[in-house]
Symmetry: C2
Subunit: 128 residues, 2 copies
DNA sequence: TCATTGGTTAAGGAAGTACTTGACTATAGG
DNA sequence: CCTATAGTCAAGTACTTCCTTAACCAATGA
């Protein structure tokens, strides 16, 4: 269940410590998304988190570990119960990346629209 | 490189055909995110996509297949060159899920604030 | 005190992921 | 026609992921 670190993907370009890798990877599992949805409504214990899920407790623990490893969740043990709470900032990181792509896309569409409307010159596709 | 379909995660609850699984899984890889970032700027051929990446062409093809399998990218072959373009709607699907979580979180915080400010009654944590 | 509840650890296995190399097909251009 | 370019297919491999079972420990609470 560990998530490894890989070498840089694109030549001469940092990859933000692969944190987006870990966050998206964490969210790529329906069980973990269900946990996030539950945690968004408020902190809960491990067994509370586990109750609606059709799997063993250790499996649930491993999912929690993945969520904690990417900073999406924090937990604290008091007595014998471990209470998990969500860390919304990390969720935001992922949302920001997505939003960034969308706005780039939208700006590109705008430029493309302007070009089609009022300039009969011949700039290349790649420059748009 | 195939992405399988699993059984329902939470009892008696549909999982939207696992499409979020596939999208987040696709985005969990830095190479594929780099491809998305490139594609957002405009359609490109496979080898164009491959150029900045330090891996073999077949590897690049496999990443493209993952992106196509979740609907994030479409491609069309004309002559001997395959041109890939992004499908922004699917990107939006992921963004929407994230945004939904954030707004749930924010609404919960509001309710919590109201409660702390003006009601000395005793509603339970879970009801907030 | 002693069973129960809540959680944890360790080990193992089936399936999935991210590459590789090598061989191969199909255009495009001279 | 012939070579280079662009892409594809198949197989193999190292590693990761998701889950299991079988112990096990540590706080409750009767």
């Amino acid at each position: 269940m560990t998530i490894g670190v890989r070498r840089p993907i694109v030549k001469d370009m940092p990859n933000y410590g692969g944190s987006l890798d870990r966050v998206f990877q964490a969210l790529a599992d329906g069980t973990r998304r269900a946990m996030v949805e539950r945690l968004i409504r408020g902190p809960v214990s491990v067994s509370e988190l586990a109750r609606p899920l059709e799997m063993s407790l250790p499996a649930v623990m491993q999912h929690i570990q993945v969520l904690e490893a990417c900073g999406l969740v924090r937990s604290e043990k008091i007595g014998r119960v471990r209470t998990c709470r969500i860390e919304p900032d990390v969720l935001r990181t992922a949302e920001d990346w997505l939003a960034g792509q969308r706005t780039s896309w939208e700006r590109r569409l705008d430029r493309l629209g302007d070009y089609l409307l009022d300039d009969p010159g011949t700039p290349e596709e790649g420059s748009l």
